[in-house]
Amino acid sequence: MKLIMAVIKPFKLDAVRTALTELGVEGMTVSEVKGFGRQKGQTEIYRGAEYNVEFVPKVRLEIVCDDERAERVVEAVAQAAQTGKIGDGKIFVSDVGQAVRIRTGETGNDAL
């Protein structure tokens, strides 16, 4: 199995979720993160002083899927999350040795 970890722009979450549902991916885990990268944060102003905020709010997805589907998932995320502007984010893929569904105890691909 593969763990696909994607960092995307927050407002693209809905589009990505829709794309994944179409692929039959039934689950994912999402968290809010701060991104540091080429895209820089906004300048904030408080009482006449400017603060350079270096991070950009991003959303991080984790999707575990079987090996065959992994490539299509990566493509779907990449497509749905793209705006073509800097800061669109990254997708990283790594191996997962085991998966367990806590409710039933099922393991492996059945657990997804």
């Binding site: 300048t43 904030e44 102003i45 408080y46 009482r47 006449g48 400017e50 603060y51 905020v53």
Partner: protein
């Protein structure tokens, strides 16, 4: 001689006709004035709790917000008890021209129906107490995020006795500045100049926050700051219009000019930030509001609408400049700009009052025998005396407290945040 007369004396100097209508003795209770001062008392307490506390709390990091609220709350409690025990007496009891006597310690001799002017003395006592609460609480803004709670309590207690009580007596309690005819309607000297000056002195001894000036964190909650600012604005109606000690045209005009000055100074900040950054900020505009309010305070019962507009304009501009001066040029970590806003505003307004009180600006007119020049002289004397005494006395107090319990928290306590380190609490457990 009635305590009340002195207070009025400061406020109504220029309103001679009204003054004559209030013989110092044998007055009757005015229910209407009592109703308005009871209300004003509630409004001014509301300025500190929770107004000022939120205003300051929103500007610090989320790990220190509770400590700021705690400082304001605990100071309010401490000041209230001290006010009863001794400070009220030192400020308003007859005594020398330098400080009041001890005749009113524990409100002794003040019965249910004792009057101060035409309102119950209990009401005058309470109204004035709320000023004694907010003044040391204003100073909190200077030393946030790095001071020990014990130092806050000790400094505030000593400060009320050694700085606030005498200055209040000089100006409102029939002391030497009142005798000179100083004009300070609602506390440009007594409240803002004292607090602003002492703020700088404290932080010069205490030192800056870790990370100052390059690695500061932005205000954790501008919305909390805005809520507090709004409460300050509304409460300031009690502060300034209540200082007329009556529900009459003087109170009405004080409210009007207070409001206009606040609105004008806020717009000034919007315009400056818009021109400078392209983005007028909420924290900026409410800071402008406080600048406008602090500046109008000493002048509020004396000037007319045009005066209010001009004072708001000047207050907004000068305080904006002062914020930059203190923080960027002088590199003093007066963290929430107590001196630049309150100190500078209070002093500026005290001086401006002498100009805008004149008929030409639609003011109530100078007192008999005064010219703009002579009144300006009196006002400047008041400023110099207040600033000097506040600075010297505060310095002594702070060194004493440093010797007793220390001032500064340890570095790792600062890192964890004062909320957990000093109060065992955490906000925002979402």
């Amino acid at each position: 001689m009635s305590v009340h007369k002195y207070r009025c004396g400061g406020a109504l100097l220029a309103l001679a006709t009204i003054l004559f209508a209030f013989p110092a003795s044998a007055q009757e209770l005015s229910g209407a004035n009592t109703a308005w001062i009871l209300t004003s008392t509630a409004l001014v307490l509301f300025m500190t709790l929770p107004g000022l506390a939120l205003f300051y709390g929103g500007l610090v990091q989320s790990k220190n917000v509770l400590s700021v609220l705690m400082h304001c709350f605990a100071i309010a409690c401490l000041a209230s008890v001290l006010w009863l025990v001794v400070v009220y007496s030192l400020a308003f009891d007859e005594g020398s021209s330098l400080v009041g006597g001890l005749g009113k310690v524990m409100l002794s001799g003040v019965s249910f129906d004792a009057l101060s002017g035409d309102i119950p003395e209990s009401v005058f006592f309470m109204f004035q107490m709320t000023f004694a609460i907010i003044t040391p609480a204003l100073i909190v803004g200077a030393y946030v995020e790095r001071i020990k709670f014990s130092a806050v309590m000790l400094i505030s207690a000593l400060w009320l006795i050694v700085v606030y009580a005498p200055v209040c007596h000089w100006v409102w309690g029939g002391g030497w500045l009142a005798e000179m005819g100083v004009m300070d309607f609602a506390g440009g000297l007594v409240v803002h100049a004292t607090a602003g000056t002492s703020a700088v002195v404290i932080v010069l001894i205490l030192g800056p926050r870790a990370g100052y000036p390059t690695q500061l964190h932005p205000p954790h909650s501008p919305s909390m700051t805005m809520i507090g600012a709004s409460m300050l604005w509304v409460g300031w109606f009690g502060f300034n219009a209540g200082s007329a000690l009556a529900a009459d045209g003087s109170a009405g005009m004080a409210m009007a000019v207070t409001h206009i000055s606040a609105a004008t100074a806020s717009l000034v900040w919007i315009v400056i930030e818009w021109m400078k950054f392209g983005k007028p900020s909420l924290v900026g505009v409410v800071t402008g509001m406080v600048a406008g309010l602090a500046t109008i305070t000493p002048a509020s019962g004396f000037v007319g609408p045009i005066g209010g507009l001009c004072i708001g304009l000047i207050g907004g501009l000068v305080c904006y400049w002062a914020v930059g001066l203190v923080k960027e040029k002088l590199k003093i970590d007066d963290s929430l700009d107590v001196f630049a806003v309150h100190g500078v505003g209070g002093i500026l307004g005290t001086l401006a009052a002498a100009v805008f009180v004149t008929d030409g600006f639609g003011g109530a007119g100078l007192a008999d025998g005064m010219t703009v020049g002579s009144q300006l002289g009196v006002q400047a004397t008041g400023v110099v005396a207040t600033v000097a005494w506040s600075a010297i006395a505060t310095m002594v107090i702070v060194f004493v407290v440093k010797a007793i319990c220390g001032l500064r928290v340890a570095d790792d306590e600062m890192e964890i945040g004062l909320d957990l380190s000093y109060h065992g609490e955490r906000d925002y457990n979402l």
